[in-house]
Amino acid sequence: MSILEVKGLTKSYDGHPAVAGIDLEIKDGEVFGLLGPNGAGKSTTISMISGLVKPSAGSIRIGGVDIFQDPLASRRLIGVVPQDIALYPTLTARENLAFWGHMYGQSGADLRKRVDEVLELVGLADRANQRIDKYSGGMKRRINIGAGLMHRPKLLLMDEPTVGIDPQSRNHILDTVKELNRQGTSVLYTSHYMEEVEVLCDRIAIMDLGQVMACGSLNELRLLVGDKDVITIQANVPEAKTMDDLRAIPGVDGVSKDDGHLRVVAPYGRKVLGDIVTRLAADGVKVRSIDIKEPDLEGVFLHLTGKALRD
């Protein structure tokens, strides 16, 4: 059963596609990451799913409901956390949450109880009666999330919820998402921080220029680059003979150098590391540091698009 099903979703502005025919599927109970650089089309995608932007083409079903056929029903299922904080600065955290609860049809004792729960969840129960214009950026972001949680949505759409905040608030937000997911909420999480997506998401779609470049679990995406380690060695640049010697080591796939760095690609880096160091010592090359890395989303993105995720 999937909570979200998007097919051929397209949005063009003056003939320029911001989103160019993407397919997405989020299964019930999943945290799904949408990773992409600035301008990739993440917010446009979220806006279409939340019914704010009319797609040029494509279909969107939330919990099996076509959002254009029954917009009110589909909106009851989603909670939206906008990229920019959308709250009333002169109202307190409690007043803001209560207002948004009302907009989801809550009232009375139910509403009051839920406000307290949400305040607890985002960790601001002790500041509940303070106007949020007195809050730090991170605290505002947490209430911004809380406002989207009031009605216990089945699917939470979060658009870069951690942009520009302190590590403490960021960790709190990541913990909140995990907790919500544990309680059964499916999440569509948009970010251009690969670390966040790596730790949070069951599956990830990598987006660039309005297209989904790849989609799958972290391991599936890693396989796209091949399951090869990258060994980076800082040393005074060796002569051509040394480079050839390194290439001759069994288990080494490739060797490249740029100023001060020697890069060796090997399927099993650790196994060949000893041979490499011995060879370098024999040739009189001074090694300053050695680093072995499994390919990460950064590497995957580099592999797919030929550019870095962040500039």
């Binding site: 806006s47 019914g51 704010l52 989603i78 939206v80 709250l87 907009m103």
Partner: protein, 405 residues
């Protein structure tokens, strides 16, 4: 209903906005005090707060007789409500009284006044005013000008006559004094008439029996009601669009008509709060009487609130963003206030403007409130109330359809 919660939120936001509150609550109050007090002299029955009329020092230094007649012009009965003349002998005494603030304005008739008049030379009356009383000064100035204007008209007509008589031997030089006396008699009549015109001009408006404080309390309440609805009411629809809270609202299962309905109700509540606050505050602080018909007053409060809400929603609907809405509102408010007689009593405006004012929001509303203050029957406000409500509902309908789209 969600639109009630939306409206409640808007009212709460307005009450939390100190700066906006200063403008919509404190400003009209201060303006009422300034305009009601400073322009008090332009109304027939100045309130006690202005301290009745003002003292006018009249120094007649004229060696001849005409000066005395001119001085009498200021003693005219029909000026009594406006000013109290205090005759003194010299210019210095008169000016000293102004310095001591015992009088606000002084008129000085120079020593050679009669001589110049009889010689057919231009003769002037000097008017001095205390800097705090520019309006009173200009009132006296206009009376003085009327006197001298009439005087020179008589001069040209008669001095030539006197001269001819003298030259032709009909009149001996020693009879000249008698001739001057006759002239002065004529002058007195003219002068009195001039003073009368002046008082008429000042007393025609706003309307009989309404004090400056009453007039401006109503005018400011109406003007700032419009200001409140356009600045913190309907415009917030555009602000919410810009701040992202409107898009967020649209992601909730709240139908659009409820969102727009909430704005309408919130704007209307803002208007009601503004009107009631102004009426209660001016009644308590300035002892402004808002008439003796609570029913008529309630009807007009509702009518003004409905129409200013309609105007505000319409302006929000036709404006691309909140800055444009601000600009359009300011222009509309200033125009309607100026033409509608909220700034300056209609009496000061030209005839054409008076007619146009009957078609402005401020003009209709101001007139209706003045009618209530004058104690006119309920029927006097039925037409204005209906017009305001009808126009307000029409504008609200057009505006909210546009906003909901």
């Amino acid at each position: 209903m969600r639109f009630i919660e939306l409206a409640k939120k808007d009212v709460l936001l307005m009450l939390r906005d100190r700066k906006a509150l200063m403008i919509v609550v404190v400003m009209p109050f201060i303006l009422t005090a300034i305009l009601g007090g400073a322009l008090g002299g332009m109304f027939r029955e100045p309130t006690s707060a202005i301290g009745g009329g003002f003292n006018l020092m009249v120094a007649n230094e004229d060696k001849g007789e005409i000066g005395g007649h001119v001085a009498e012009v200021f003693q005219a009965d029909n000026l009594k409500k406006l000013l109290t003349p205090k005759p003194v002998a010299t210019r210095d005494e008169a000016l000293a009284a102004i310095d001591r603030k015992e009088a606000q304005v002084a008129v000085i008739i120079p020593a050679d006044f009669s001589e110049r008049v009889l010689k057919g030379e231009p003769a002037a009356i000097e008017v001095y005013q205390h800097p705090d009383s520019p309006l009173r000064g200009s009132i006296v100035q206009s009376i003085a000008t009327a006197v001298t204007d009439n005087l020179s008209a008589i001069q040209t007509a008669t001095t030539t006559g006197v001269e001819l008589w003298v030259k032709g031997g009909f009149l001996r030089p020693q009879d000249l004094a008698a001739a001057a006396n006759a002239l002065a008699g004529q002058l007195q009549a003219v002068g009195a008439q001039a003073g009368l015109q002046q008082v008429k001009y000042e007393a025609i408006e706003p309307r009989k029996g309404v004090s400056a404080f009453q007039y401006y309390a109503a005018a400011m309440a109406v003007m700032f009601c419009l200001f409140a609805t356009t600045s913190s009411g309907a415009k917030s629809f555009l602000l919410e669009r810009e701040d992202g809270t409107l898009p967020r609202l649209l992601t909730t299962p709240t139908p659009r008509w409820q969102i727009v309905g909430g704005k309408l109700v919130g704007t209307f509540m803002t208007a009601l709060i503004e009107m009631v606050t102004m009426i209660v505050a001016t009644a308590l602080v300035f002892r402004v009487s808002w008439g003796h018909s609570p029913l008529a007053l309630a009807i007009m409060i509702l009518a003004v609130s409905v129409s200013s809400s309609g105007i505000a929603v319409f302006i929000a609907a036709i404006s691309k963003n909140s800055k444009v809405a601000d600009l359009v509102s300011m222009i509309f408010i200033q125009m309607s206030a100026l033409i509608g007689g909220s700034m300056v009593p209609l009496s000061v405006l030209p005839e054409g403007a008076k007619k146009v004012s009957l078609f402005t929001f401020n003009g209709i509303a101001n007139n209706a409130f003045v009618s209530i203050m004058e104690g006119q029957p309920l029927s006097a406000i039925v037409a204005p109330a209906l017009i305001l409500v009808a126009a307000g509902l029409a504008l609200a309908l057009i505006g909210s359809r546009r906003l909901a789209a």
